[in-house]
Amino acid sequence: MALLAERTAAARADAEMSAASLVRHTMIQTHRLLLRWARNPVTLLETLIIPCLLLIMLETVIGGQIRKFTGGSALYGSVPMVTLVGALSGAVAGGVLLGRERDAGLLARFWVLPVHRASGLASRILAEGCRIFAGTLAIILVGYLLGFRFHQGVLATLVFLLIPVLFGLAFATVVTAVAVFTAKATLVEAITILTSLMMFFSTGFVPLAAYPQWIQPIVRNQPMSVAVDAMKALALEGPLARPLTLTLLWSLAAITLFAIPATIGYRRASRR
C-alpha cells in the first residue's frame, strides 16, 4: 500500500514536472491568455487601435513639418516608434491583468493544481510576444497605406518585425518585476508617464537635429531611440551596427537584471 502510494506520487510528480508537460501546459495557458485578451475590448483597443490612430495623427500633425525640415518622409521614424509604443503599452495592460489574476486567486489556484510551475511565466512571455507581433503587423499595415515601404529585403524585414517583440518583452520583464513590489494605481501612472517621455524624447518623434544641443546625447542613446534607429536602418537606409548593438544591449541587460526579481515576484504572487 505504502509502495503504491509512493509510486503514484512519483508518477504524478514526474507528470507535472516533465519537459513534455511544460510544453503542453505552456501552450494551454498561452491559449487561455490570448483568448482572454482577444475577448477583452479594452486590450484590443490598446493593442491595435490606439497605436494605429497615434500613427495617423503623428503623420497628419507633424509629418508635413518634418518633411519640410529634413526633406525625407517622417514615416520611417514614426512607424518604428509607434510599434514600440504599442509594445510598451501592452506590457502595462499585461501587468494590470497579472495583478488582477493574483487578487482573484487564480495564480494561487494554479500553484496548488498539478500544473508545471514554469508554465505560468513562460505562457505569459509567449502570449505577450504574440500580441506585440500582431500589433506590429497592424501598425505596419496602416503605415503601408500612408506610404511606408521596406527597401532592404526579406531578412532585414524579419529582423525589423522582431525588434519590437524583443523590446516589449524586455520592458514586460521590468514591469512584472516592479508590479509585484508596488501598488497598482501608482505603477500604471508612473509607467505611462515614463513611456510617454521615452516617446517624446526619441528620434522617432522628430529628427535628432531638432532637439536642443544639451539633450541630444540623452535622446540619441535612450533605448527607444536606438531601437527606432535600428528599425529605420532595416527598413530604409542608414548605419545599422551601432543602433542594433545598443538595442540588443539595452534589451538583454533589462532581461538579465529583472528576470530573477520577476520570477521571485511571480512565485510570491502565486503563493498568496
Binding site: V42, L53, I62, Q65, K68, E189, I193, M199, F200, F205
Partner: protein, 272 residues
C-alpha cells in the same frame, strides 16, 4: 407612550455646509498626505517639456506668426492640465460609484448634491494646482502675459471655466460607467486626438487640407484661440478680445456645463 414612539420627534436635518466640508477634506487630505497631489504638478511639467523641447525647432521652422513658440503653445499646456485633472476626476467618481459610496450617501441624511459638490471641490483644488504649475512652466520656457491685468484675470477665469466644464463632464461619465480602469483608459484617447488635431500645436494652415475644417472648428482650437487672445503677443497676431472671437470658446464651455448640470442633478438626486 405607545410602542411605536420615536425617541425624538425631530427628523435628522442635514447640515449641508458641514457635510460638504467633511466630504471635501476626505478627498483632499489623503491626496496631500500620500503625495498623490504631486501628479498634478508633474503632469503639466512633463507635458510642457515633451511638447516644447522636441517641437520648437520643427514648428517654428514653418512659422507660427508669434514672437515665440512658447507664446503660441501655452494654451494647449493649460488645456492639457485641465484634461489631466478631468481624467482623474472621472476615476474618482467611478471609484465612489462602484464602491457603493453613492448609494450609502443616498441612504443617509445627506443633502443630495453634497457628495457631488464635495467631489467637484476636490477637483477644483487639483485643477488650481495644475493650472498654476502650467503657468509657471510656461514662464520658464518664455511665455509672458503681454496685456493688462484685466486680460490676465480673464485668461485665468476662462481656463478655470473650461477646466470645470471638462471635470463636470468627466464626473458624470465616471459616475455612470462605474468602472475606474475602463473610464481612465477610454478617456485617454479624446484629449490626445483633440489636442493634437487642434491649432494648439500648429496653425491650421499647416495641416493637410482634408482635416482643416475639423481642426479649425473643434472646441480645443476655439479654447486655444480664446486663451491666446487673452494672453496677447508682441507681434500682434494673437487676435482681439471681441465677442466674435470669444463667443465660440465661451459657448462650448457653457454648452458643456448646460448639458452636464441637469445630468449631475438627476444622477445625484436618484435614490438608489
Amino acid at each position: 407612550m405607545t410602542a411605536g414612539t420615536w425617541l425624538t420627534d425631530v427628523r435628522a436635518t442635514p447640515l449641508r455646509a458641514q457635510q460638504w466640508w467633511v466630504l471635501t477634506t476626505r478627498l483632499i487630505v489623503p491626496s496631500v498626505k500620500t503625495g498623490e497631489v504631486l501628479a498634478s504638478i508633474l503632469a503639466p511639467a512633463a507635458f510642457t517639456a515633451s511638447f516644447y523641447i522636441p517641437l520648437k525647432t520643427v514648428m517654428t521652422f514653418a512659422g507660427t506668426g508669434f514672437s515665440s513658440y512658447a507664446q503660441f503653445m501655452m494654451p494647449i499646456v493649460v488645456l492639457q492640465a485641465a484634461a489631466f485633472t478631468a481624467i482623474s476626476a472621472a476615476f474618482r467618481a467611478a471609484t465612489d460609484s462602484v464602491a457603493g459610496l453613492n448609494r450609502r450617501f443616498g441612504s443617509m441624511p445627506v443633502g443630495p448634491l453634497v457628495p457631488v459638490a464635495a467631489r467637484m471641490s476636490g477637483n477644483i483644488f487639483r485643477l488650481a494646482i495644475a493650472l498654476v504649475t502650467a503657468i509657471i512652466c510656461g514662464h520658464v520656457i518664455g511665455f509672458r502675459f503681454r496685456l493688462d491685468t484685466v486680460h490676465t484675470i480673464g485668461f485665468l477665469l476662462l481656463a478655470m471655466l473650461i477646466g470645470v466644464a471638462l471635470m463636470l463632464g468627466a464626473d458624470v461619465i465616471g459616475t455612470v460607467s462605474r468602472s475606474p480602469e475602463a473610464t481612465t483608459q477610454a478617456l485617454v484617447l479624446p484629449p490626445l486626438i483633440f489636442g493634437m488635431l487642434s491649432t494648439g500645436l500648429a496653425p491650421a494652415h499647416q495641416f493637410p487640407a482634408w482635416v482643416q475644417p475639423f481642426v479649425r472648428n473643434q472646441p480645443v482650437s476655439q479654447f486655444a484661440i480664446g486663451l491666446r487672445a487673452l494672453a496677447g503677443d508682441t507681434l500682434g497676431n494673437a487676435g482681439q478680445v471681441t465677442l466674435a472671437l470669444m463667443g465660440p470658446p465661451l459657448a462650448w464651455a457653457i454648452g458643456i456645463l448646460a448639458l452636464c448640470i441637469p445630468l449631475t442633478i438627476r444622477l445625484s438626486s436618484r435614490r438608489a
